[in-house]
Amino acid sequence: MGKRFGHFALTWFIAMIPCACGAASAAAEDGAEVLAKPTYRSAVSEVRLVFFATDEQNHNVGDLQKNDFAVVDNERVIREFRGFARANLTRLNVVVLIDASESVLPQVRSEIADTLQLMAQSSWSSDDNISVLSFSGMDVQVVCRDDCREVDEASRFESLPRGGATPLFDALQAATKLLAQRAQPDRWPVIVVFSDGEDTISRTSFAQALQNILVAGAQVYAVDVATPAGQSKGSATLQKIADDTGGRYLRIGDAGAGVFEQFIEDLHSAQVVTYVSPESHSDFHSVRIYPTHNLNLRFHSRRGYYRDSDRASSEDTR
């Protein structure tokens, strides 16, 4: 394949490494009984955080050094890293979400046409998973699944319902589930959402949707289609989702054909840092990366992780 569409993998994982910390059998002198002492197990958790940095002009910074940044994990400043390298993200797992609700109807037709055209023009890898979902009314509809590169999906989209309410958070939930079903360690999960951000009917709450995206380790690129963009509550919602997941918030006018190119740039400059997770009483760890010298640098990474993802997911399903 010609130019290879790159890969993200801003994933973290926590490796639980059990170690026996003290089991010793005590043998008493002269035939005394051997006392069975309790075995204590402790755990060392390693966090893998993928991120990219931008400068004051919002351009990607590729030549970062290990001492250019510090991680703040649950309020603790961490400068000792186990590893730091380029992320080498090579395979993508992408779900494109298209808002087809009443509030964005005037923009929908051109938006869909542009989106599908952009997707067709991009040079995807044969290993990439690309799915497209649309949402409106009470439903999230699958436009195409897994391989949306070569088929002209515009005609299929025409037959799907449009108008009605905006189940944005349900759609994010559906996208997260789809990513989770196809999750592989070397696949970079990304959600691209085209919407005005104004959820009106979802059963899923904003917090639940965001939590599940964080658990899945997905990065959200939010394209605001509202006019004017950036001034509504919906815009703030999209901005929050993009920021908290380490993605980007883009306005439809600014993004234009650039949204997929933006991936590629971010992907190529992505770095991965690993460190020991600090002790904490909570399963959820908030994470931010800050500069150590140049305050003009801005670091994009997920804003948190769960020490025990399974537990977080099960709590959410209750």
């Binding site: 940044f69 309020e75 400068r79």
Partner: protein
């Protein structure tokens, strides 16, 4: 004796001046969080008046800055008042505020001092917290 007096006076003035301007000390930020902003309030009205609303909605960065003998908890005045999180930073005091030198920007950033602890007490407290967390981990693993 006559020469000694001006010398002593000069020394006293120099000391007073240094105390006023503040001599840089090294320190290291070990913790950071976004917390409530502390409005810069002074005087009777500030003490007895209503709380300032201007900054109450905003979250301001709060840093734990460890120096050789004292640990300071300092708060910025706005959400974007950040300190570079280098291994060591330089700071000094000026009019009850703590000024941090921002190397790359060649300027200083003013912070309100929220708390001060003697370093040895803070170290002891941290050890206690770490022990508690480790004990909790062991208990969790035993289950």
């Amino acid at each position: 004796m006559k020469r000694a007096c001006p010398t002593l006076l000069l020394c006293a003035l120099a000391t007073a001046s240094a105390a006023q301007i503040g001599v840089y000390q090294p320190g290291s930020v070990v913790r950071m969080r976004m917390g409530d902003c502390m409005a810069a309030q002074h005087g009777l009205m500030a003490t007895f008046g209503a709380p300032a609303n201007a900054t109450s909605q905003e979250a301001c960065p709060e840093y734990t800055l460890v120096s050789s003998s004292v640990v300071y908890v300092i708060v910025g005045r706005s959400s974007n008042q950040l300190i570079p999180l280098a291994e060591t930073i330089d700071f000094r005091f000026h009019k009850n505020e703590l000024l941090v030198r921002i190397d790359d920007a060649k300027k200083e950033s003013k912070f309100t001092i929220k708390e001060m602890l003697v370093r040895s007490d803070w170290d002891r407290l941290q050890r206690h917290i770490d022990q508690q967390l480790k004990a909790d981990d062991v208990r969790e693993a035993q289950r």
